[in-house]
Amino acid sequence: MSAWIVRRLAAAIAIVLAAVTLTFFLLHLAGGSPCGQRDVQSVAPEVCARLRAQFGLDRPIWEQYGKYLWAVLHGDLGQSFWQRRPVIAALGDAMPNTLVLAGTALLIDFTLGLALGVYQAARARRFGDIALGNAALFVNSMPTFWLGLVLLLVFGQWLHLVPVGGTHDPVLCARLDSLHCVGDRLWHLALPALTLGLVGAAATARYQRAAMLEVIAQDFVRTARAKGLRERRVLLVHALRNALLPSITLFGLAFPFLVTGAVLVEWVFAWPGMGWLAVMAIGQRDYPVVTATALVASGMVTVGNLLADVVYAAADPRIRVRGA
């Protein structure tokens, strides 16, 4: 088991290293130089040479790469042109917002998805199952940001139930200091989290339904029924426990979806997380921030997958035997 985890950990580190390498070479290929764009010749050659020496751009590429790697390992992701502060500080402000949004969405995704999947399996091929199944297919086909806009239109603009953007009320709750403001933040979180969670739940429900149907057909379920257990107990205790396993795999798959979906949902709801930061930074030509968000996003997905693998191995001993 421990050897298996070490191997997985090594693979995860290798993936993050590869992501760092990729961003370095993309930066290098784009050929930004302190003398301006490639075809602009407004800077004197000697000034240009001095600037290149100052930023280490005259060194061989492998040396520049080593320096970059070293800096990234020490948490130095460069300076943000636009915010005039270290990139890591800008990310530090944005990351908690993304984590809160993605975490809540994940919660909605799995509670709703599992509940719907179990309900659909219990009423398989009847009206409720078919209606929910088609609804889930439709939600799954929507652009996430468009669903966000529709929810915003209905609940924010027409019904005035929720605020239309941001993380908190800037006048009343500049800082998180009272119970009222916790409520205010939750209120702002509701719609973006629901948007992301609903799209995820549509997929989760589909998988959970299939997993439940597979388990329900097995002998031990018939035994449980034959013992005279109530259907509720058979489904929720005996069948569900065994049908949860595939959902853990889904849990790992959910991370790329959440990180990607968060970019667009954050943009729609002006939610200042990493995706919002990245898109804003593009408008400001602030590429150190954009590359840093890409790195952090890859790191988050990798860690998420690692977590899912470990949870899966903990839940299913067969994986450990095969993997070790």
């Binding site: 297919l137 086909s141 929507m142 652009p143 239109l153 603009q157 589909r206 990607t260 954009v290 890859s298």
Partner: protein, 307 residues
């Protein structure tokens, strides 16, 4: 909407149904029966045929040019009516006309990018599965990395570094960041195919690696490739819509369903139709693609039952 455009629209609808019916008649074999056994397969085909017809016959069906700002003072944000089927956007452009022309960009980019992704994925998967050993190990580690880096962020980085990307570059970018899943699928298929007698025989007869892969292995791995392409176009279209929505995909004023949604975002409460209809079009097409893809999987790959 003039009488001519109404007629063309009706014609497109009739054509879509006719095409679906004709396909059903032509596909009478067991695979065709498995395909149409799916309750959503036939409606999916109709929807796809309809939107493809819209894209191809756009000049006949769209009442106005997609760029035309009719009258920014008096005709902006008009609700849907007989004259403007789906209303007008904040710049007084006809939403229906833009939706029709936008089908060209959204469907075109989606299918071309998927073509790139499937070609690269099939090539890499076939090479990895056929040669195994270090080639396989190297390529599959590359795929692991590709799957771990979220595509949207790669595309954001590229757009941030190279100002504007042109449409062909956009297609290439989406395609080249989307082949990882396909290559894994193809590799698994090739791993089992390469041990089969006919492949061993082809090798024994002196067939070179390239010839064996192209003539004997890949054609027999066609089913999973086609299915993954059909199921993948939907996600590519969603990606393109997202990028265009963020203003880094198809550049305005070219209409794509994604940037049309962005056009209406600021006037969402006053003129919701500008954002609602393009989003509905994307949802419908992606849903149809998923339905057809699911049915194709059952038709071509009878071992794998649909979930």
């Amino acid at each position: 909407m003039t009488a001519g455009t109404w007629l063309a629209l009706a014609g497109a609808l009739v054509l879509a149904f006719a095409l679906a019916a004709e396909t059903r008649r032509a596909a009478a074999g067991p695979a065709g029966r498995r395909f149409f056994r799916h309750p959503t397969a036939a409606p999916g085909l109709v929807v796809l045929a309809f939107f493809v017809t819209l894209a191809l016959a756009a000049p006949l069906i769209a009442p106005y040019p997609s760029y035309l700002q009719l009258d920014p003072v008096h005709l902006a944000n008009q609700p849907p009516s007989g004259r403007f089927l789906l209303g007008t956007d904040p710049l007084s452009r006809d939403v229906w006309s833009r939706l029709v022309y936008g089908a060209r960009f959204s469907l075109g980019i989606g299918s071309l990018a998927m073509l790139v992704a499937v070609s690269v994925g099939a090539a890499v998967g076939a090479v990895a599965g056929y040669f195994r050993r270090w080639v396989d190990a190297l390529l599959m580690r590359l795929v692991d990395v590709g799957l771990a880096i979220p595509r949207v962020f790669v595309l954001l980085v590229v757009v941030a570094l190279w100002d504007r990307v042109s449409l062909p570059v956009l297609v290439l970018l989406i395609g080249l960041t989307g082949w990882f899943g396909t290559s894994r699928l193809v590799r698994a298929e090739v791993l089992s195919l390469r041990e089969r007698e006919f492949v061993v025989a082809a090798r024994a007869l002196g067939g070179g690696s390239a010839r064996v892969i192209l003539r004997h292995v890949l054609p027999n791995a066609a089913a999973p490739i086609i299915v993954s392409a059909a199921l993948g176009i939907g996600s590519v279209m969603l990606l393109e819509a997202g990028l265009s929505f963020l203003g880094i995909g198809v550049p305005s004023p070219k209409p794509s369903w994604g940037n049309m949604i962005a056009d209406g975002q600021d006037r969402l409460a006053a003129a919701p139709w500008t954002s609602l209809f393009p989003g509905l079009a994307i949802s419908l097409v992606v849903m149809a693609l998923n339905a057809v893809g699911d049915a194709l999987r059952d038709a071509l790959d009878p071992h794998k039952e649909a979930a």
